[in-house]
């Protein structure tokens, strides 16, 4: 059976290669910092289960220290020039899209086949992780096709991958850090305190205003935590269940489903949702780290208002 563990090894090996190539890259004045940073990521992926919780904690502190002290820098691994790229594009034409579509196609068709046919019983892939496994298979297939067709230098995939991961930099690790922060918040009881504060501002007797506070609470708490998943149990416990459902008799399916989506409006508006908002800004090399958030606020706010109306009208229809 192919499991997540295999994928961690694949990703870990990739980061290890990034680390070695970084450390050897004399054109980058911060080469040792980059080498250490990606080396720690490799260690986490390859041996995270072996080094113990405290060991993992030290590893994270190491990553944070390297990033905070500015010890990692963007390298310039060898790649093609713009002119060469234009020439490749003209020579190969739309066939260039084929390898790009291999990864989504294998993930897409593979997931469908695996989920809806008897293949599922084969137990070939770890349960519920088939899309990740297929993503990995897609990557390996695409690499094989590119090598056979375009014959890049042997190290090119690793150098090109390093070029991109260096463009992203520490933002590549931040989502995982934020997820870990959320766990600490939960352990410290942040959710309970927020729930208590929210309950204190609820006006008695007004269904509509209670819905407003519930939805705004979902959005704001999601913005703080970077994640609607952390906000939902808190808001459900504070307002959703005792007031909206049990108190005023609202339809629980509406309160639950649309309440969560009100939280997603918050996700669009916060840098704390790093993998959706900061990582793409880094990937697309935006000058403004918050550029993606700014582009989303105009969608998130009207949609939040609509969600409030939806909860009010559909839950109490």
């Amino acid at each position: 059976m192919i499991t997540l563990q295999h994928l961690y090894v694949l990703a870990g090996a990739m980061f290890a290669a990034f680390a070695i190539l970084s450390a050897l890259d004399r054109s980058n004045p911060k080469r040792l910092g980059n080498g250490a940073f990606w080396g720690l990521m490799a260690l986490s992926l390859l041996a995270g289960d072996l080094i113990g919780d405290f060991g993992n904690g030290l590893l994270v502190l190491g990553l944070a220290a390297l990033a905070s002290l500015g010890l990692i820098g963007r390298s310039q691994p060898p790649t093609s020039s713009d002119e060469e790229r234009e020439a490749f594009s003209a020579r190969h034409g739309n066939r260039l899209f084929l390898p790009a579509l291999i990864i989504p196609a294998i993930a897409f068709i593979g997931t469908l086949l695996y989920t809806y046919t008897p293949l599922r019983e084969s137990g070939l892939f770890e349960a519920k992780r088939e899309t990740y496994v297929l993503l990995g298979l897609g990557v390996l297939t695409a690499l094989a096709v590119i090598f056979v067709w375009l014959r890049p230098p042997a190290l090119a995939p690793l150098q090109e991958g390093r070029r991109l991961i260096d463009a992203i930099g520490w933002a590549a690790v931040l989502p995982q850090m934020l997820a870990a922060l959320g766990v600490l918040f939960a352990a410290a009881g942040v959710g309970a305190v927020i729930g208590e504060i929210t309950r204190a501002v609820i006006p008695e007797g007004s269904v509509f205003l209670t819905v407003v506070v519930f939805a705004l609470g979902m959005a704001v708490f999601t913005m703080i935590m970077g994640n609607a998943f952390a906000a939902f149990p808190v808001m459900a416990a504070a307002i959703g269940v005792p007031l909206l459902i049990q108190g005023y008799g609202g339809d629980p399916a509406v309160v639950g489903a649309i309440g969560m989506l009100a939280g997603f409006c918050g996700t669009l508006m916060t840098p704390m949702a790093a993998n959706f908002n900061l990582v793409p800004a880094a990937l697309l090399e935006l000058k403004d780290r918050n550029g993606v958030v700014k582009a989303q606020v105009g969608t998130a706010l009207p949609l939040l208002a609509i969600n409030i109306l939806f909860i009010y009208f559909f839950a109490y229809r």
Partner: protein, 260 residues
């Protein structure tokens, strides 16, 4: 007795982001402060933080696509994506992004949400296409405009994902809703929750789609010329071949070790 001090961690995060400190530092400081306030000892804080980081390694798996994306960029994929959009007469940034929004919502709604995303589709395909379309509408793009087009490309992916995925009832957030409510004795079928995600999905398509059409309008209106030496000659032209030097997003023009 409520310990309001645990909110200090939130304050650190908000202040740190506002002061534009390095987020890795801000998050670590907030985590340690929160743990200590909750009366853990420092070793316990570090262990808790480390364990949570390790438990979330699945987040890092998406980066395995980078070598493929980078290789394809090396062979001109972004240039190709831009060229293809230039060949469509009626392509505009807004229409392209609306099409992608719909695609992203639909694949997310049928549970295939992780087959697209910022590294897999936005950087190599969507952003260069959106930029090329914008160039058709406006001629050479100034920096604020190209930043805006790129930001809208990423935003469209997020909106499509968030307001599509919950229709698929076997997704984590639906399970979470179900489990949370079940703890209060409220038993719901996942499919019910998925159905109630549909109105918001439609609303999201309409709201974001409208904003994309407004983006189109701002792109095709003649540019306010700012100072002399503007590229007025390109302004508002439809379909005239946008200069071949237009560079799709990030491509460090670097030549180094050469290919076969």
């Amino acid at each position: 007795m409520t310990n309001y001090w645990v909110l200090l961690g939130i304050l650190i995060v908000v202040a740190g982001f506002a002061l534009r400190l390095n987020p890795m530092f801000v998050v670590t400081a907030a985590a340690i402060a929160t743990g200590l306030i909750a009366r853990m000892d420092i070793a316990e804080v570090i262990s808790t933080f480390g364990k949570a980081f390790n438990d979330n390694r699945i987040i890092a798996l998406v980066w395995i696509v980078l070598p493929v994306i980078g290789l394809l960029e090396r062979f001109g994929l972004q240039q190709r994506a831009a060229a293809m959009i230039r060949s469509f007469r009626s392509a505009t940034t807004g229409r392209l992004l609306i099409l992608y929004l719909l695609y992203r919502q639909v694949i997310s709604a049928i549970g295939l949400h992780s087959t697209a995303g910022h590294p897999q589709t936005v950087r190599p395909l969507l952003a260069p296409m959106a930029l090329a379309a914008a160039e058709k509408q406006q001629g050479e793009l100034d920096e604020p405009t190209s930043e805006k087009v790129k930001a809208y490309s990423a935003a469209t992916d997020n909106v499509g994902l968030f307001f599509g995925e919950d229709i698929f009832f076997a997704i984590a957030s639906i399970v979470l809703i179900q489990q949370t409510l079940a703890a209060y004795g409220i038993v719901l079928a996942p499919i019910e929750l998925g159905l109630w995600a549909i109105p918001t999905a439609i609303a999201a398509f309409l709201v974001h789609g409208t904003r994309l059409l407004m983006l189109d309008r701002s792109l095709s209106s003649p540019r306010r010329s700012r100072g002399e030496g503007d590229h007025a000659k390109h302004g508002g032209g439809v379909g005239d071949d946008a200069s071949a030097t237009t560079s799709p997003p990030p491509s460090p023009s670097r030549d180094g070790e050469d290919k076969a």
